[in-house]
């Protein structure tokens, strides 16, 4: 019978924060390239979230190995068909782009911002990659649940988008950023990501059938149904229907910030439940 790899909290945190970093980055890149002048602030905050998280992600993976210097062994190979190998390289490349984008966000000159937009056009590919590859890593193992979930990468990507956008909303709110009508854009984007995530989550559970029992029943039932589905997705989606009157952008931001904190909790629980339930 299969043996659990003993992937524990370092990996849970890595999957969670890596999803946020990737999601915040590609959301920022899209806001930067397709949004208006005001959305530049969203982009700036997204890049500032992505870079430190990329550093923390690297540190978590290195700590998980026990002997930090052995991380260098990862760099002996470039196995592009192997999620963990290409993931190590991808995280490195993502970190480089997140660094560049964060540095370019320090100034306001038009040339700098134009360069930042172009950097993000390439960098967002690594953002999408970082958010999704951890799911494919799990789904190409022999473990129950993980190995049977064809949609794990797709789901993690959607969760990366929802948590990435949520992190931008929370940071913006506490920074007191003046986002104006960008709040509603953030809300719209996050709601879309959450709907995709919810649909993928149900598709994944349905496709697993009875194999999903360790996730949907027993000790993980409460964090899964109560934490992730209800508190982390349904409640924030319901909150997105709360309308604030004209000129009450700050209130709208507050509602979104509360919803976003719930989304972040849900995103953490998603990784926690799946990683732990697959190793029962």
């Amino acid at each position: 019978m299969v043996r659990a790899p003993e992937w524990e909290m370092y990996i849970v945190w890595y999957f969670f924060l890596g999803g946020i970093a990737g999601g915040a980055y590609f959301a920022a890149a899209i806001a930067d390239n397709f949004g208006g002048r005001r959305d530049r602030e969203i982009a700036r905050i997204g890049y500032f979230i992505a870079f430190p998280l990329a550093l923390i992600c690297g540190a978590l993976l290195i700590l998980d190995l026990g002997t930090p210097s052995r991380f260098l062994n990862m760099l002996r190979m470039f196995k592009f068909w192997n999620p963990m190998s290409i993931g190590s390289w991808g995280l490195g490349a993502f970190g480089a782009f997140a660094f560049l984008s964060a540095v370019l966000s320090l100034g306001d000159s038009e040339a700098r911002l134009a360069l930042r937009r172009n950097v993000a056009k390439v960098g967002r590919v690594f953002g999408f990659f970082l958010a999704a590859y951890t799911g494919v890593l799990l789904s190409t193992t022999a473990q129950p649940i993980w190995g049977d979930s064809r949609l794990m990468g797709a789901l993690f990507l959607a969760s990366g988008a929802s948590t990435g956008l949520a992190s931008i909303a929370v940071v913006s709110y506490f920074k007191g950023a003046n986002l104006g009508e960008s709040w509603s854009k953030l809300k719209k984007a996050d709601s879309f990501a959450m709907v995709v995530e919810l649909v993928l989550l149900f598709a994944l559970v349905l496709m697993l059938g009875p194999a999903a029992d360790p996730v949907t029943k027993g000790r993980f039932a409460l964090p899964f149904w109560g934490g992730l589905v209800a508190l982390g997705l349904v409640v924030p989606l319901a909150l997105s229907f709360v309308k604030a009157g004209a000129g009450k952008e700050r209130t709208a931001g507050g509602t979104l910030a509360i919803a976003s904190v719930l989304v972040l909790i849900g995103g953490f629980l998603l990784r926690y439940v799946i990683i732990m339930a697959g190793q029962l």
């Binding site: 043996r3 790899p5 959305d39 193992t141």
Partner: protein, 261 residues
Amino acid sequence: MAKTLAMFTDTSVCTGCRACQVACKQWNQLSMEKPEWTGTYQNHENFTEKTWRLVRFKEKRADDGRLKFLMMSDVCKHCAQAGCLEACPTGAIYRTEFGTVNVNQDTCNGCRNCVSSCPFGVVAFNHETGRVNKCTFCNDRIHNNMPTACAKTCPTQSIQFGEREALVGRAKKRLAELKAQGEKDANLYGVDESGPLGGLNAFFLLMDKPSNYGLPEDPKLPQRNVKTDSAFSIGSALLVGAGLMMAFRERGGNGSSGGEE
């Protein structure tokens, strides 16, 4: 290229003496472990980083009401398509010229991706070294023209060592003999090179269904889905990207190129 080596474990003549388990421990200098009470003669429940040969004991009530006592000396299968080898990001897990699968201890960095990717639960994480261990197919012995320690010591020739081709012939002959004697449940596990995992270099003659020994009936390479799963992820990226683009797009469009994502 050297000929592919194999071990053929014929469970029909296994007496459960566990000499193979001890010989493996001695030759490979695997230290003592605390015994586990599994409810049977079996110890341990599963392979560990220090138990690479493991005699499994299974009891089963046969159709005629008699109790069948199944014994099987289990080991790393050295799969032709090895999940652990595919999973290893550092290249520490490699295939030798004899077709066996080995872990280079110096290169292993303890990521445990191989542990999660072995369909048989063979590869085990060693908390003392922070690296993984499994059967080496007595790599030192086979490179010096010696059979594996377990095969050498087996008193009933339940474990046979040799070139794969010759052993496959022997296994098929033995199966035919047993069938002729009325052992209708006897079957070969891992012999067929067109079968699961491209054939196992440690294959078995079982006296009952594989699942009754705790073996998967149809083991599959876990990495077979990497393309499908990546394609779904890319689809999700396109969908989410398009949704975000719609959400952030300025009405009236100021220099946005549109439809790029």
